[in-house]
Subunit: 290 residues, 2 copies
């Protein structure tokens, strides 16, 4: 953990919020203004925002994406968002394009008052994202926000149970999941499974609105942002259309009780010695049999 503030005080409660909106493609200044206005109406110590919230999604080419990208060494959007975190006393989990040397990532930044930024670089790129971005090259990791241990993943990572599982095994209480979902409902249902199977809170902040690529392919983002408890039950659930913020109070201890029954523990019951196949490359050896 980089943060020592109350980390490990699992009994402490923390307000966690979502902000669902429609970023404007290519207009960082407008998006930062929308984010600042949205946060002013959310009373929370951590707010999760959509994927690529500063840039919009349907970036036409890598050059455009690079021009909108933030830098860990300092860049206009990142500086503004960190200042917002400081002035509001609110941590932010926000999607943005991130440039590091020659590499360009679809990333999420975790920005905390008084702390250095932490970044997650999306491991599983969706569709055309692979034409713009480099895939993430570091394992999923967990960072403290006060008493809450937060793991970041982005949008299409929902399909891969390995991401949420790695985060839970690294100690996550909450999965913060900035998204730009276009397949209605699928991710929301799967995130309930992620919450249940790992015993974690799961906060999916999706965007709304429409965008188009230069070739005319249109994307309609499906909203439906949600914050689920460790049994997969919704604490917050937004509609498919609205721009909206909201927050609820979470008790990290709820995510640290991994017992489903007195004899069952979601993580300790795993049988890793029999899971060697999980590190295979997806080219099954079909000669094996029981």
């Amino acid at each position: 953990m980089t943060s020592t503030a109350r980390a490990g005080d699992a009994g402490a409660a923390l307000r966690v919020g979502l902000f669902q909106f429609a970023p404007r493609l290519g207009d960082r200044a407008a998006n930062l203004a929308t984010i600042a206005a949205g946060l002013a109406a959310i009373d929370a110590e951590l707010v999760v925002l959509p994927e690529l919230a500063t840039s919009g999604y349907a970036l036409p080419d890598r050059e455009t994406a690079l021009a909108l990208a933030e830098s860990p060494a300092g860049s206009p959007g990142l500086t503004a968002l960190q200042a917002l975190a400081e002035s509001r006393g609110t941590a932010l989990a926000v999607g943005l394009p991130l440039r590091e040397g020659e590499r360009l990532y679809n990333a999420a930044a975790l920005l905390r008052p008084g702390e250095a930024p932490v970044f997650y670089r999306k491991l599983h790129l969706f569709d055309r994202e692979a034409l713009l971005f480099d895939p993430g090259d570091r394992p999923p990791a967990v960072t403290a926000v006060g008493a809450l241990r937060v793991g970041l993943m982005i949008c299409f990572d929902w399909v891969f149970p390995e991401v949420a599982r790695c985060l839970a095994l690294a100690g996550a209480d909450l999965i913060a999941h900035p998204s730009n979902l276009v397949l209605p409902g699928l991710a929301q249902g799967a995130m309930a499974t992620r919450a249940i199977e790992n015993g974690v809170f799961a906060a999916t902040a999706n965007r709304v609105g429409e965008e188009a690529f230069p070739d005319g392919e249109r994307l309609r983002f499906t909203g439906g942002s949600q914050l689920l408890d460790p049994r997969g039950r919704p604490l917050l659930a937004f509609s498919a259309e609205e721009s909206r913020g909201g927050a609820v109070t979470l008790v990290p201890a709820e995510a640290r009780n991994k017992r489903l029954t007195p004899r069952n523990h979601l993580l300790a019951d795993r049988r890793p010695a029999l899971y060697a196949g999980l590190l295979g490359d997806g080219t099954p050896d079909r000669a094996g049999d029981a």
Copy 2:
């Protein structure tokens, strides 16, 4: 694969069925008769039946379970079920207690006409099952039933994404999931996620009815058997109460197309080099950070 019959002919269609019923606790002969009658009404080349379908669930102690257990070397229930498979020309995936030397497993047998039985031994025991059974000690594996590659898992294994993932990576087209579920709805939703994330058919055969342990703890089994397509959509869905059989035609090729988009493949997009945490023991090192 032990079966060579049409294995790999992914275009071939196969009828797969479910049989949901209420086994009678401790009465193997009655349960075998119910199974024979149920199968007579199901037109299928593979039928999935509940967990512990020959014995019932709330076995009071290990001695009782041992007395009802089948043996790979030959035992009354296994012999009768294999004969049923032969006479009907139908493969069966059926839950039963299985004794091997000093070990007793909560197992599923895959019984195919003209083939040797294949067994799966439940890896993740639920609640009191740990008092009766030894946990399975072999990795999940896949067996051919005609053109269909079948992976077995049992009931509470649904909570652990590793099981279905190992089966998919081993080439499963269908997950056959004999169950005695008591938590209403949770497993059904999670199995939709298992189908979607792995691109496989998923056949959960649950039981109905009630049983009680000697100390009075009552169990109500929640039915809701379902057969899902590789996008998690129900092809069969039974109610919480009824005894019922049914079957649908599956095309294995649908489960071998792992492309969600032209640029995304459910298995090949995985990043196993970054998933080393998956083989950890569930005791996270909370000193790590991004």
